[in-house]
């Protein structure tokens, strides 16, 4: 199921079908560049083929006379590897010498999330690269007066095969400028069998600078004369300052200014508060500590984890706010040989990116410049422009590296705070969120309950499956009132197993706690729920969990995507294949030994994936020893990066499944820092084995895929080891049943 993270406010990039050439004088990257690309911003504009543009970031490839190439990256690099994988798409088709390639981050970068970068860019970037390649062949053929078919491009040069003559791309630039470009829509793409980069393990281009401490993250931006700001926000959601005494704060060495900013509402959601500006981050923090603030805690002081759980429990039995209409009958009353009912519980989660939120901003008259570690440079720009009442053309957002995204940086709240601050501060100012700010004013993964009811016939086939989710809805916070679409975030999509009567329903649980997109969104809890429940059905049917899944999947039909474009089609055999391979690699048939168990899980969420977890249970302690992952994601771009995304997503998710929970008391988050928000450490990380099924099918995104299965795989393994079924997250052996 596609994660729909768009709202009307976030522009969806449109890819123009016209390629164009930009004259060299316009390129900010230096004199003497051929700039080729596909226009990637809305609105679609008709252009003549020789149109010029003054914006170098509108094009993907800048070829230089010295035969080097700059490739433009218009997505945010947050560790998922697009800094290398997207340029690889360009370089592969353009037949560029990878050793002569460097990357330029676009100032027109746009929304990065939903595992969509490779999926969305795969065709357009390949087309752009192919346009360059074909143009070079044409130019070389013209230069030598030979047939095109005799000219072969390779590593930034064209070779005339019969004679052995070579010409570097750089020497062909002038010629290319004089010729019409091929149509990007019609240009031929390389056969996967001839790939020299795609599918291989390519070292990440940004790794050296990150290892030497030179890579610049948002918090590392340093400008002459810059100052630093922190905000005192009411710990209670919805609370505001009532009385502020800034005397001691202003007397703190290094503190320059203290002022208030108001909260912002729908789709921005800032708390407002008291800003302290100082010469150093430290002085700003000290100044904030010296503020005397009386808070008006607002109307939500009585909200707590207990009240939310209460509402969720009651919501399970209330009329549904949304319900799927997949069948005529009420699945819960269909005659069956066996029935299973389970309620699963999941808590709020923090993103806890290692780099807390921050942004550097400089307002000079009617022009504003910002340096932002953001997944949405486009929304950052429009939010800043809106707050400052400036046209977007007056706002420039430079996208920096960022210390983790995970969906937290897909929002425009701290950018809006910075714009509010910039109105009071003439120097460049860096807004810093401390770890405590970040932990207590996040946009959390929702909390809730998910009740599943299954009915089996005498052969263990699934006659009925109904799932009712009651959660602190994400969509209710972000969709227009009256137009809430829970099916795109809270609900799990259609299970892969054949189910005679399926019904899904949803009841929102009201909460003041802000919610957002947390790596894989609904996948982060629904994967756990679905793949735990199918295991429970296997147990009811008296079958091995691997064989049960396999039997059911082989009885399933292939499915076409719901709307033809928004999700990959479910090809049953690809899922069975990864399931089989995971079982094989994990040694499913072999006994794991005393106090040990294996659990299996599979999904088509983004990619076809299966995981087997092996655990050792001693007393109340769970140790995850090994996780085997098998994936079929279609064409792998960078095997190195693909593997690290699966490893990374698995460990990120495991942290949440085993350790993490945000709790609420008196309308405020309880956890403050890593002392009370426990995350996975290296000593708790399992061995990881990751296998790819080789494929040249359209690629699936992998940024979130690793999050879906580990919770269920581990819970299933715990059941195998102990006979105890855990349904509450994070997983604790002393769980009290719901």
């Amino acid at each position: 199921m596609k994660t729909d993270i768009a709202t009307e406010k976030i522009r969806r990039p449109r890819i123009s079908r016209r390629a164009f050439i930009v004259s060299s004088a316009a390129a900010a990257t230096g004199v003497g560049a051929l700039v080729i690309g596909l226009r990637l911003h809305p609105p679609f504009q008709i252009e003549k083929s020789s149109a010029t543009s003054s914006n170098p970031f509108d094009a993907w490839i800048h070829l230089k006379f010295d035969n080097t190439a700059e490739l433009v990256l218009a997505r945010s690099e947050m560790g998922q590897g697009v800094y290398t994988s997207l340029p690889m798409l360009l370089a592969e088709e353009a037949e560029l010498d990878w050793d002569r390639v460097s990357i330029v981050q676009s100032d027109e970068s746009y929304g990065t999330g939903g595992s969509g970068s490779v999926r969305g860019s795969y065709l357009p970037l390949r087309q752009a690269g192919a346009v360059v390649r074909e143009a070079m062949i044409t130019a070389a053929a013209y230069k030598w007066s030979v047939p095109r078919e005799e000219c072969v491009p390779r590593k930034s040069e064209v070779i005339h095969q019969p004679s052995g003559q070579k010409v570097p791309y750089g020497d062909l630039i002038e010629q290319v400028r004089r010729l019409p470009l091929p149509d990007a829509k019609k240009v031929k793409l390389k056969d996967p069998g001839t790939f020299t980069l795609l599918g291989r393990e390519i070292p990440h281009l940004d790794i050296p600078s990150k290892v030497f401490g030179a890579a610049r993250f948002g918090l590392d931006v340093r400008l002459p004369g810059m100052v630093y700001a922190v905000i005192a926000r009411c710990p209670t959601f919805g609370g505001v300052p009532s009385k502020v005494d800034a005397t001691r704060a202003l007397a703190t060495p290094g503190v320059l200014q203290v002022f208030e900013i108001p909260a912002r509402g729908f789709r921005i959601y800032t708390a407002g508060g008291v800003v302290v500006v100082a010469k150093t981050t430290w002085a700003a923090m000290q100044g904030r500590n010296a503020l005397s603030i009386v808070w008006d805690h607002g109307p939500h002081v009585n909200e707590s984890t207990e009240t939310i759980n209460d509402l969720a429990r009651r919501a399970l039995n209330e009329p549904a706010s949304w319900s799927s209409n997949e069948g005529p009958a009420d699945p819960d009353v269909i005659p069956a040989a066996k029935r299973v009912e389970s309620i699963y519980q999941f808590p709020f989660l923090a993103h806890a990116t290692m780099e807390p939120m921050n942004i550097t901003i400089h307002l000079r008259g009617k022009k504003c410049e910002a340096w932002c570690p953001s997944q949405v440079a486009d929304w950052s720009r429009s939010a800043i422009a809106k707050e400052l009442h400036l046209p977007e053309s007056s706002v420039t957002v430079h996208t920096t590296f960022m210390g983790g995204g995970f969906g937290r940086r897909f929002l425009a709240d701290f950018q809006t705070e910075a714009a509010q601050i910039a109105l009071h501060v003439s120097s460049p100012v860096q807004l810093v969120w401390t770890r405590e700010d970040d932990m207590t004013h996040d946009f959390y993964r929702p909390a809730g309950l998910h009740r599943l009811r299954g009915a089996l016939d005498e052969h263990g086939n699934i006659l009925a499956w109904s799932n009712r989710i009651a959660d602190t809805s994400i969509r209710a916070q972000w969709d227009d009132p009256g137009k809430v679409r829970p099916e795109s975030a809270e609900l799990p999509g259609q299970p892969v197993y054949p189910i005679k009567h399926l019904q899904q329903s949803y009841v929102p649980v009201s909460s003041v706690v802000p919610r957002g997109w947390w790596r894989s969104v609904g996948g982060s809890f629904n994967g756990f729920v679905i793949e735990s429940f199918i295991d429970e059905l296997a147990q009811a049917a008296g079958e091995d969990p691997y064989r049960y899944r396999r039997r059911l999947l082989l009885a399933a039909a292939n499915r076409t995507p719901r709307d033809g474009t928004s999700e990959p089609s479910f090809e049953r055999d690809r899922l069975v294949r990864v399931l089989d391979l995971a079982a094989e690699k994990a040694g499913w048939e072999k006994s794991p030994g005393r106090h040990r168990g294996r659990g299996i899980a599979c999904t088509t969420y983004y990619a076809y994936m299966a995981q087997v977890a092996e655990v050792t249970v001693s007393g109340n302690e769970i140790h995850v020893d090994r996780i085997v992952t098998v994936v079929d994601c279609g064409q792998v771009i960078n095997l190195n990066g693909a593997r690290s995304q699966l490893e990374g997503g698995t460990l990120f998710a495991l942290s949440s499944y085993l350790k993490e929970a945000i709790t609420i008391r008196n309308g405020a988050v309880v956890q403050q820092n890593f002392n009370d928000y426990d995350v996975l450490r290296i000593s708790e990380a399992p061995e990881l084995e990751t296998y790819f099924v080789e494929s040249h099918a359209t690629p699936h995104g992998l940024g979130e895929a690793g999050v879906i299965l580990p919770g269920a795989a581990v819970a299933n393994a715990i059941f195998a080891a102990t006979g105890k079924r855990l349904r509450s997250l994070p997983l604790h052996l002393d769980e009290k049943s719901l």
Partner: protein, 154 residues
């Protein structure tokens, strides 16, 4: 404000700072050395690890006044001080994803390998458990430490 002379990466840096200002912020805000990262401010996450007289220490827990007279090495100077092998291992194993925690990870790993050139898995657990990685690079961190140890000992 008092003046302090700090020895960082074998060079002298005079700074003017409040006695209690953590070395982390002296490095980042007064000296512009942003390789040492802020993650928690409480010595819990390891992002700000530096070497103080050869031992790994979180810079957010060392005041500038306590840092005087001590030999400070940061990620920027690690290569010059004999640890480029650790950084090379990190590159060869392709460890970093977002990369924000990695300077701290590398500083902790380098200190481990000085004290213990043949670390066991348990030694790695103990030495590295103070360093959080949210991107999930622990599996490759382990491999890189073994690789660096192997190179050192060959």
């Amino acid at each position: 404000m008092p003046q302090y002379n700090l020895q960082i990466n074998s060079a002298q840096y005079p700074v003017e700072a409040d006695a209690e200002m953590p070395l982390l912020w002296v490095l980042r805000d007064l000296l512009g050395m942003t390789g040492t990262k802020y993650g928690c401010g409480m010595g819990l996450c390891g992002a700000c690890m530096i070497h103080l007289d050869g031992a790994a220490a979180p810079a957010c827990q060392v005041s500038v006044s306590d840092a005087v007279g001590k030999k400070i090495v940061t990620i920027e100077g690690l290569g010059q001080h004999g640890f480029s092998g650790v950084q090379q291992a990190w590159i060869q194993e392709q460890v970093p994803q977002c990369g924000y925690c990695q300077p701290g990870q590398i500083m902790s790993a380098a200190a481990l390998l000085v004290a213990n050139p043949h670390p066991t898995e348990a030694d790695i657990d103990n030495a590295m458990s103070g360093n959080i990685c949210r991107c999930g690079t622990y599996f490759r961190i382990r491999k890189a430490i073994h690789r660096a140890a192997g190179e050192m000992n060959s």
